[in-house]
Symmetry: C2
Subunit: 111 residues, 2 copies
């Protein structure tokens, strides 16, 4: 029997999923690209869908996460708020620690 | 910000999910009911789907998991093999330990 273990950790607010690996990636790309539309393109999702996910997160958690910046030659941009950075850091710390723990326990119990 | 944490642990074999909370529940109901069809009914799935999941697990892990028993007045039944019992016990130990660890870390980091 050759089995591997997988795990997923996500946050919920108001009884609905609010932040998991997918939305984490969206926020990370916005941070890296300084733009919602470039982040959406890289994730092969529409701008509308990306924006919908951002608004859903902001409303569910009652936190500002992404600030749009006005026009200019590049067509404006977007950046994460300090609250978003703090949230990402916490989520990452949580998820990474859990993944290591899952692997450790799996080896202990199954191998 | 009121958030809760959720997590899921599952096993994969041959690169595909093989055992997670849903299939665990199916095996537990078969054990409890002594019957695949009663287990399927309680889970609101067809017998065909339940049987497909059992065969998929057995093939992916190359382990016998459910033994069908021949007819009789009650129309036969089914029971878990010792291999299935061992697998469930291990999975349950893994998943329960992880859930506690996720909660502990979440409180430490987020609250």
């Amino acid at each position: 029997m050759k089995v591997q273990v997988r795990s997923k950790v996500w946050l919920e607010a108001q009884g609905r999923p609010v932040l998991g690996p997918g939305r984490l990636e969206l926020l990370q790309y916005i941070d890296e690209q300084g733009s919602i539309s470039r982040a959406a393109r890289l994730l092969k999702m529409t701008y509308r869908k990306a924006w919908g996910q951002i608004k859903a997160m902001e409303e569910q958690m009652d936190l500002p996460l992404v600030e749009k910046q006005a026009g200019g030659p590049g067509g404006g941009g977007a950046r994460l708020t300090p609250e978003a950075r703090e949230l990402l850091a916490k989520y990452f710390r949580l998820a990474q620690g859990i993944e290591e723990e899952v692997d450790r326990r799996f080896r202990e119990i199954f191998l």
